[in-house]
Assembly symmetry: C2
Homo-oligomer: 151 residues x 2
Amino acid sequence: MLPVSPTTSPEAELASRLRLVVTRLARRLRTQLPGELSPSQLATLASVEGLGPLTLGELSSVERVTPPTMTKIVACLEEQGLVSRTVDPNDRRVARVEATPAGLAFLAASRQQKDAYLAQRLRALDDEERASIERAAELLEWILDDRVRGS
Amino acid sequence: MLPVSPTTSPEAELASRLRLVVTRLARRLRTQLPGELSPSQLATLASVEGLGPLTLGELSSVERVTPPTMTKIVACLEEQGLVSRTVDPNDRRVARVEATPAGLAFLAASRQQKDAYLAQRLRALDDEERASIERAAELLEWILDDRVRGS
DNA sequence: TTGAAATACTTTCCTATCCTAATTAGTTTG
DNA sequence: CAAACTAATTAGGATAGGAAAGTATTTCAA
């Protein structure tokens, strides 16, 4: 439809198209939930849930955020009762962060809310179309996997 | 792989998976270009390119940003010579913003750079796999199309 | 035709987020 | 035990974006 800048390879053209749709869809999903947690806070909570109890340092490198920033994020989450901290008895410098039941519940609710939009749209597709999307999701997961060479 | 919270329908499960991969890929694409323009500035420049000359007010509502913020964004883009402003001779309160040739060139380059990452990854797939992604991109474009009923 | 209201943008000031540098507390090692 | 190292925190600063108020211009009603 739109005459994109002259592309050299078919991959480049597909890349352009994929980038556009992924960027837009992500934006749509983001604005779908104006929740009371900042994006970093939500992402941190999700990491804690997915990766189990983590130290502040691990969290800050997972979230690509500096340690001081992570200190504040975790402090805020803790104040709201969504995570708990436990000092490691063997090395009392480190504190492990863990999701509380309230944190897990919050995450589940927030996911359900975001997924609701997508699920509603997906319901309008037929089985074959949903299978296509599933297959693509698989491939994109592979693309995102950094064990594949090249940063 | 990860035991997600109990989902009710197959659509919900796919939605969850799709949301995750789309969000992550979008983030990857975003951080891929640490360019000298902020995200809002880049988005504004892209809107100006795509929608033609726009007033500040139109721009701020398109970008979901308050007028003062748009004033600053445009001022910054103008300083860098990426857009130009022209006062409407019929109504001297309004100023129309337009992309300069330098602005268009910048956009093209930035797109090419982002696409490069994706294109590189896509090159590692075979034709069948690329076709799957293309099909999915089509479906996602349809999903994003707001002319389809339901917000 | 002129004052009041409306409109388009700008200026000022405030908040939130995330950074770097320096500090504190705890652990390991020579 | 002291020096070096490590984990987390505190202090301070940069930047993006918003709300409220201000300025310039246009429109409308009496």
